[in-house]
């Protein structure tokens, strides 16, 4: 049996997390494949709708990365994100999906290593969950 390689979508905010990803890249840190990074201006511009759409289309896991609380380029953008994503996770649970398929974390521009760690951890965790059951569901 071939090992399951999950497809992951990672939304990274422009000011911190994307810069963190950049640093990880420049530092030549090993990164798992199948992670698609989407650069957004702020984690708050990741509408929950995008996350839920991705999950219902069969993406195995969605990672939302923003600046640490207090460091948001837009002052309180990541406060919004911090309030919203847990609701998304609960809805996944209520529908019958594992809430661990969505994760929110904070990565600053200086945290290249943390970026790598967050990604690797998340990929491992989603791999353990197995494929998104919605991938096989056609409406």
């Amino acid at each position: 049996m071939t090992e399951f390689k999950p497809t992951i979508l990672a939304f990274c905010c422009n000011w911190c997390s994307y810069a963190g990803a950049d640093l990880a890249g420049v530092s030549r840190l090993q990164m798992p494949p199948n992670v698609h990074v989407v650069r957004v201006m702020c984690s708050a511009s990741v509408k929950p709708e995008y996350v839920m759409k991705a999950i219902s289309q069969g993406i195995d896991g969605v990672l939302v990365l923003g600046c640490h609380v207090g460091d948001c380029h837009y002052m309180t953008g990541n406060h919004r994100t911090a309030k919203r994503m847990p609701v998304v996770q609960k809805i996944l649970k209520d529908i019958g999906l594992n809430e661990k398929r969505v994760r929110l974390d904070w990565v600053s521009a200086a945290e290249g290593e943390k970026f790598q760690k967050v990604i690797v951890d998340f990929v491992d965790e989603v791999a353990k969950l197995g494929p998104n059951p919605l991938k096989e569901v056609r409406f």
Partner: protein
């Protein structure tokens, strides 16, 4: 509501007019009907509406956002009877002021909610998958919802809900569940008006329970601000609602 033509339907009675055979036992969603009429009300006019507890909560959501002026809507409190409470699986049926009816307590538990949460997640997913497969995209759940008041509905945005596609799939219902998480007052109108018989009220109840556990917040109170609109410290965020909807 009034009985006419062998049916019971909503009716607007002007001052001095004979109200006729008025009925309060058919669950019309009068706040939705009022929200259609409100923009047409001429200056200074007031309107009275029969309000159950859920309607009272819905009005609070309107007042909170400044969509209705508080002094223009007069509430006639209706306490639902036991049968109505049972049908709506209502946990909170007594309005703050009872003008009509005898107050009766609500139900503590919702059987289907309990059953669903006792299932394995695979079973639960299969359950909802079957339910959502019946969806015919009639938008009854949004059209009849008293607290669906965005000017532009995200469910009509192609990015999130492509045109045509029937049934519209999982994301339609997840997105709607999210949007109602800090507004839904559990009147059950979505479920009653769903031609596919999807237990939408149960989904609302599940999300409401989580929301309350996380943030200690339940919609329907004019004084509290939705946690989705405050900072982590609870301070109010600037900007209007539609930043997030």
């Amino acid at each position: 509501m009034r009985e006419e033509h062998g049916n019971v339907g909503p009716v607007m009675i002007s001052k001095g007019e004979d109200p006729g055979d008025v009925r309060t036992d058919v669950p019309y969603q009068l706040i939705t009907i009022l929200s259609n009429l409100y923009p047409w009300m001429t200056d200074g006019k007031k309107i009275a509406v029969v309000t159950r507890k859920c309607d009272e909560k819905a009005l609070a959501e309107f007042f909170k956002r400044g969509y209705f002026a508080r002094d223009r809507v007069i509430q006639i409190g209706l306490a639902c009877n036991r049968e109505q409470i049972r049908q709506c699986r209502c946990s909170d049926p007594v309005p703050s002021v009872v003008d009509i009816g005898e107050p009766h307590g609500g139900l503590d538990t919702d059987a289907l909610s309990e059953k669903l949460m006792a299932m394995s997640s695979e079973e639960r997913l299969r359950f909802w998958e079957y339910q959502f497969r019946k969806c015919n995209k009639c938008f009854a759940c949004t059209t009849n919802c008293p607290v669906c008041f965005c000017d532009e509905c995200v469910l009509e945005e192609r990015t999130f809900v492509p045109e045509r596609g029937v049934p519209p799939g999982m994301s339609f219902h997840m997105i709607r569940a999210y949007h109602l998480s800090d507004k839904c007052i559990e009147c059950g109108e979505c479920e009653r008006s769903c031609p596919a018989g999807i237990p939408l009220l149960t989904l609302r109840k599940l999300v409401a329970r989580d929301f309350k556990e996380m943030y200690g917040f339940s919609p329907g109170d004019e004084k509290t601000v939705s946690p989705l609109l405050t900072t982590l410290e609870g301070e109010s965020l600037d900007g209007d609602e539609c930043d997030e909807c």
